[in-house]
Symmetry: C4
Subunit: 252 residues, 4 copies
Amino acid sequence: MVCSVAFTEKPQLNDPVLIEGLPGIGFVANVSALHLISELHGRKFAEIVSSSFQDFAVLTADGGWSSPLNELYYVKRSDGGRDLVIWYGNTQALTTPGQYELCGKVLDVAQELGCRVAVSLGGFKREEVKGAPGVYAAATDEVSLKEALGLVTGTRVMVGHIFGVAGLVVGLSRLRGLASFALLVDTVGLYPDPVASKVALQAVAKYLGLVVDLSGVEGSTNQTKKMLESFGLVRNIADEKKKEEEALRWFI
Amino acid sequence: MVCSVAFTEKPQLNDPVLIEGLPGIGFVANVSALHLISELHGRKFAEIVSSSFQDFAVLTADGGWSSPLNELYYVKRSDGGRDLVIWYGNTQALTTPGQYELCGKVLDVAQELGCRVAVSLGGFKREEVKGAPGVYAAATDEVSLKEALGLVTGTRVMVGHIFGVAGLVVGLSRLRGLASFALLVDTVGLYPDPVASKVALQAVAKYLGLVVDLSGVEGSTNQTKKMLESFGLVRNIADEKKKEEEALRWFI
Amino acid sequence: MVCSVAFTEKPQLNDPVLIEGLPGIGFVANVSALHLISELHGRKFAEIVSSSFQDFAVLTADGGWSSPLNELYYVKRSDGGRDLVIWYGNTQALTTPGQYELCGKVLDVAQELGCRVAVSLGGFKREEVKGAPGVYAAATDEVSLKEALGLVTGTRVMVGHIFGVAGLVVGLSRLRGLASFALLVDTVGLYPDPVASKVALQAVAKYLGLVVDLSGVEGSTNQTKKMLESFGLVRNIADEKKKEEEALRWFI
Amino acid sequence: MVCSVAFTEKPQLNDPVLIEGLPGIGFVANVSALHLISELHGRKFAEIVSSSFQDFAVLTADGGWSSPLNELYYVKRSDGGRDLVIWYGNTQALTTPGQYELCGKVLDVAQELGCRVAVSLGGFKREEVKGAPGVYAAATDEVSLKEALGLVTGTRVMVGHIFGVAGLVVGLSRLRGLASFALLVDTVGLYPDPVASKVALQAVAKYLGLVVDLSGVEGSTNQTKKMLESFGLVRNIADEKKKEEEALRWFI
């Protein structure tokens, strides 16, 4: 199995852009993707299961059932703008090979659907965030970097490491000849962060020439929080992230 | 190899139902499956070996030989009721990818044989169990949940995590469009539990309109206990389970 | 790659028997296989590399080069007796899936060459061994067990666990319809043990109706010891074995 | 995915020699390969990504982007000498199976391009190095060993272990019928070592009858150092190496 995609539909899209929205630091990508799906009436067209997801299930009081899962949604626009492919989910893969497989699979699908650009979102972990959060951009190429830097005033070039899917999307895009940029927003990172998510959403909206109502972002944040609480996992996020960083090993 | 199925027969079955019966908390599924096979004269039609099983063998005083193994049995009914596919074994897989492979393989076989429903059984670990053990249900959909809740009086909706194969069966079934429910019964969980197993068997019998003689469940329990003792593993079960729970990591 | 076999020859053999001879407790199988190859003029016909072998190389003062490697030899007999396929090597695989792959691959080759019987040898770890070492047998079936018990006077039925390749050969043989037995000989287990190896060789010789000169077993033992010393590993064997046993996990 | 090679060109080469140049002890191979590419105007013709590389990205102040990556370069010579295939990269694989896959893939490409010889370079870790560093050679065969011993005056036969890709290249070459030798140069091993790299480069130049200007080796060393610093990893190298050695396990 390894990593299997089950399609319910293969949409015809207009020059679509892939938006990565998996859980990560501050759940910036995750809240943003959920909000985009809800505001733009995204339609789910594929479900992805990886054998590198955790083998458990989470059950809620109303009989709800959650398994580790990734999903792909599309948004067709009537204003002539570029369509969206939104990659949403409740988990990343547990292992490094699993992360590569998952990312590779989603980029395969995105390219098959005609995507030439992949946008990845994320949080930049800070001890505290005062005032408007800073934004950092990284990209596959200078043109994309310039474009990413121009979306939110004051955005700076990202320096340092990006872990997980947010970095992998851009790295693997480059090898495939896709243009890609990552936008990281300052966040304390323990809880789903509506402030950082709004900044990320503004950037995506500007990039795509979209109007996105941000008044409901707190709602999307609470929905993400509830999902996490049902998993009993919110308290562990910071620790997990630390362990992950400690586990870093650049093998020589 | 990864996970290979060796068939001795491909049975023609009447609207069959898959019953999962691997070792787990309280060995509820394992004792129940063994009892069903013995009472209903199940016929083995496939053996499954995964490279994620432990690489060892266990030998008994009478020259008996046990390797980690999963087996599939079928029961053809003469009363016109739905047939059974029983998934029995002495182990689950050692790794998360191995669990996914194993589950996926068994569901492949089940679907090939015409199964549209998968039932998974399990124990719900308690410090102590007084009186009749509680029962908890989880399902892929509302219809299945309602059906599962109606099998044993007082069954409640399961809330929380289900680890291992019991949860994976339902999670993967949902992605494949199979109906599936899990029934978990209160148990102290250290030893094969005949009381919890009887409750699980009553539920399965009611679901399938079967008459199952439960007077021999203690015998099936002792057989399971003997198997475990020959493996020298009974004492470690509680610890193992704890380690497994500690190992939980929802990767973000 | 996973596990690749490079053939230099595909021998035509007469009802051959596979003899497993990888390093293990007391190096009983390893010394025995080396001795059989040298006494019976075994010809190497295949080399096996697994990606689950350690990624290192060992170099000796004379420019010699050792990589983790398994090899297959054959012995064609002129006395009309059954031919031999000897599985020799300087390592087992590092991981459980690697062990399964390796064993499965060798059994594939053995079956392709017409083997219907697989014999696995090993040591049975003891604190001390006084007098003639005890011998223990395990088998896929009663006929093979009876045959194995009759090879050395006083051989008893093995009770307990067999770890690693010695157990896997018999376990996987059973699933493939091959007859197989394992012979384990008492040994202190830290160093290549010529006494235990002689007992194993006597049993194999009797089973195959072979005359094997045992006067050179000390030489084969020293050759094995030298190989191990060049790897700088002899001291760690007991510890490794202990760790391996601790790592045992029968997953439920 | 596992390990994928993306070609931009398939060069026609004259009896080419593969030169391994991944990061390792003292970065001897890495600095040497970088220097050869720059001095001989190597052209990149393939990029390699393995799912056993770390899943992160590194970003520099000028908007630069680094992912774990291996690359293949070729050098076509106008002097009638043998052409070069240079294997450069910023990482080895994280796991043993990943190392085997990566090495096997690169040797596949090398053989497809006509390489009959593979040269691997490396550092030999010392507490201190006084005067001219010692050189050690290991090879697939006596002819190659003799040739390797003759390249730098005073080169001795290597005795002991070679970890990682440097050893794997020679080990796997032998199994494929490729000639191969490794040259290891004394180094303290914590930082990219220009002195040891010069010795390695002199040997390669002599072997191939090449003129290589060594005045710029310090530049290549600094470039390697900068790459490492941007990864924030230089300080950890010695520790990592120690951990790797501790992790050695020759499984029996």
